[in-house]
Amino acid sequence: MGKLLRNVAVVGAGVSNFGNFPRKTNRELWVEAFLDAKNSVDNGIDQKDVEALFLGNYSSDLFEKQGHLAPLMADLVGLAPKAALKIEDACASSGVALRMGVLAIASGMYDVVCVGGTEKMNTLSTAEVTDVLASASDKHTEIFGGSTFPGLYAAIATAHMAKYGTTPEMLMAYSIKAHNNGALNPKAQMPLTVTEIMSRRIRRAKEKGISIPLWADEYEFLKSNYNPMIAYPLRLFDCSLITDGASCVFLAAEEVAKRYTDTPIWIIGSGQGSDTFALDDRTTMTSLNAARVASQQAYKMAGLGPQDIQIAEVHDCFSIAEIIAIEDLGFFEQGTGGKVTQEGRTALDGEMPINTSGGLKTKGHPVGATGVAQAVEIFKQLRGEAEKRQVPDVEIGLTHNVGGTGGTAVVHIYRR
């Protein structure tokens, strides 16, 4: 129980550009990510080496009206006739796909597998995207109660504020930090700092000849009408983006990993949990039990604790989600997530850098691709390939990927 029967490494990792691409479907996004990952393999990898594809995707059927996605994606990159399967666990789809890939290798079934994630979201209006995402929550209670995904996380935020005194400024500090990191990621959907966004707004207003207020700092901007309320207390800058994007990694068993690279990144811990589906059935609303369960499993498997983790990509679909994630993962005490964010302790140069990629907020959140995209960032960081956003000398990293409001959570721990 709780052990991998043999070690599993990530030997290559890549992502497509993330953004709003009217001329790209899941096909092009996926091929782009696959080639990026293939090119990242130090000694090269051939399609014929790959024995199976585990693909995370939330809803190509609703977004694109294209079902049966896994064999299609396998075919496009030359993996047919290998096994190809799609895994759907809402926004945790590819995080779970990664875990399935790990288990498949650890079991001895395969030596080399490809794990990917892809999501084409910008096919629908924002309200329709909200519909598709909402269908990952409880139809008969949460949706009929009028909620949306931002609404559910906003309810979590309200509860967190009421219980721990978390403030809107703390949420804004998260957003500023996320943009600072995303600005350093060339593949991010919104690679701009909040200050840069402010000056763009000012420039645009000047061009149009409309008067705009002079903001003293980012916080004043984030409190203005330029940052509209989405679901109180969450504003636009508290929400992740609607993104087209794909991600891909190659996993190999320890016996063959060295064939592909001298610096494999080992997956030393993997955990997954679930929870009551609806938020209203939970005993607590300020913590995701699935994430706690998943991280405990992963820590145990790795023989490590939260204090050993040097860098993490966490599921920040909303500002409050990152705040509770860093509490659930044990990096900070319950209730202090907002405060430590405001103190800069999770910034790129802080004691515990969180979401160096810019996170779902600025890198983007193509829901089915997010879990593997997190692994791609940790792969790059641990190998010292994260360029401008590189955190020096990191050896151990973690990814935390959540489906819905924590109906699913999956955590992985990586070591160089």
């Binding site: 909200t130 309810a155 209203d280």
Partner: protein, 431 residues
């Protein structure tokens, strides 16, 4: 009975339609699950039974949502935004996701975790949505509801308006009896309702069960005595003062002493109609618009003797029907016709003076004022004879030349070009 229904989400929603919040009680560990579960979430026993839960609770957490989903996934209900979503904790323990109503949507800071709230049900085309409102407001509403309980309604006349009104009443969950003088008229009216409701089922707006329930609340009768136990009677007979007076005099003898008698007249004097009864304080104008199941407005007209109590009861009743009330002190043409008739008249004058073509006038009014149809198209729809009648009546009552019907309108009515119903008016409908 509750005990007989299978434990399912479908049963749970059927209970909501009856304004009951039903969960499951575990007979082993007394844990309550909401919505119901076949397996107790606490001790995993399958020994569970239905349990009706309290309709009062407190806000556990909430949000105010500005960007919503589409009505498609909201049981066909178009959530206005911003709207509140909350998780409410019931005294028995379970929590439930609901919409909050009755709080100011622009002031989220006025809502607090821990605020007491009471269940309030929102009727939608697919059944009731569970919502909660501030307990203080609910108590007020309950007091009103207790004071003015309306269990049965009667509609006199099964024509277009009568049938439409009966349908609206039945849809709101109240029993209604429709009477007419001839079986032919009655059957025609009942068939219209049936067709309308069946179409809603075909379109997926309501379920067959709901449709059957609506139709089951409607009863037809050729005997005016069938209205004797109604709490509110709405007369929708032809617009003829003598006929209406005769009906009101008969109703006065048949109806319960405290029953309210309303008239759906679009122009006649409520005060004069009320004079045919010995209870003018219980008589009020309840003017629905055509088609009644769709049009949201009801003009509520207070006659000279209408009492405050009658007026308030009917106002609450009409709101319960899901309509919006416009309060009117009796005056010729009330609000809508008083303003509409001179507007149409002015449009016809403009046409007659060659200011613009009929299409030009209608396009200008449609796009310039965002009206759904231009005044001349609307006149054709209403019937030019009806428009002329209204103008003549306003002119006669006010004696003000601004209500005087223009010559082109009179000429067209004399020529028998009355609009859609004669296939020719300002436009040609013969093709």
């Amino acid at each position: 009975m509750a005990a007989e229904k299978e434990i399912s989400i479908t049963s749970y929603e059927e209970f909501l339609n009856e304004k009951k919040i039903m969960g499951t009680l575990c007979k082993e560990c007394n844990h309550i699950d909401l919505p119901p579960r076949q397996i107790c979430s606490k001790c995993l026993s399958t020994n569970v039974e239905w349990k009706e839960l309290s309709q009062n609770g407190t806000i556990e957490t909430f949000t105010n949502i500005h960007v919503s989903t589409t009505p498609f996934i909201q049981r066909g209900y178009d959530m206005k935004h911003p709207h509140y979503y909350a998780i409410v904790k019931l005294p028995e323990g379970p929590m439930i996701s609901v919409q909050l109503v009755g709080f100011d949507p622009s002031k989220p800071e006025t809502v607090e975790v821990g605020t007491p709230v009471t269940a309030s049900f929102i009727p939608t085309k697919e059944g009731m949505l569970l919502a909660f409102e501030p307990t203080s407001k609910a108590e007020e509403a309950e007091k009103i509801a207790e004071d003015y309980k309306i269990k049965k309604v009667a509609v006199i006349g099964a024509g277009t308006m009568g049938a439409g009104i009966a349908q609206v009443v039945a849809e709101s969950g109240v029993k209604v009896v429709v009477t007419d003088v001839a079986d032919e008229f009655l059957q025609k009216g009942l068939n219209t309702i049936k067709k309308f409701v069946t179409r809603s089922v075909d379109k997926g707006k309501i379920s067959q069960v709901q449709a059957d329930a609506i139709l089951g609340r409607i009863e037809g009768s050729l005997d005016l005595n069938a209205v004797k136990d109604a709490d509110i009677v709405i007369e929708a007979a032809p617009e003829n003062m003598n006929l209406k007076k005769k009906i009101f005099s008969d109703l006065d003898n048949i109806c319960k002493p405290d029953a309210i008698i309303g008239t759906n007249t679009s122009s006649l004097s409520i005060t004069e109609i009320a004079s045919a009864t010995k209870r003018p304080e219980n008589v009020v104008g309840v003017h629905f618009f055509n088609p009644a199941p769709i049009m949201k407005l009801v003009e509520l007209i207070r006659g000279y003797n209408t009492s405050d109590e009658t007026y308030e009861t009917v106002q609450a009743f009409v709101k319960k029907l899901g309509k919006t009330v416009a309060l009117v002190n009796e005056a010729p043409g009330f609000i809508v016709n008083r303003i509409l008739a001179p507007m149409i008249n002015e449009a016809i004058i403009a046409l007659q003076e060659g200011v613009a073509s009929a299409e030009g006038i209608d396009t200008a009014m449609k796009l310039g004022l965002n009206h759904p149809m231009g005044p001349l198209t609307l006149a054709d729809f209403i019937g030019l004879d009806v428009v002329l009648d209204i103008l003549n009546y306003l002119y006669e009552e006010f004696g003000d030349p601004k209500y005087k019907a223009c010559s082109l309108l009179k000429k067209m009515v004399r020529a028998g070009q009355l609009g859609r119903k004669t296939r020719k008016g300002f436009y040609d409908y013969s093709k």
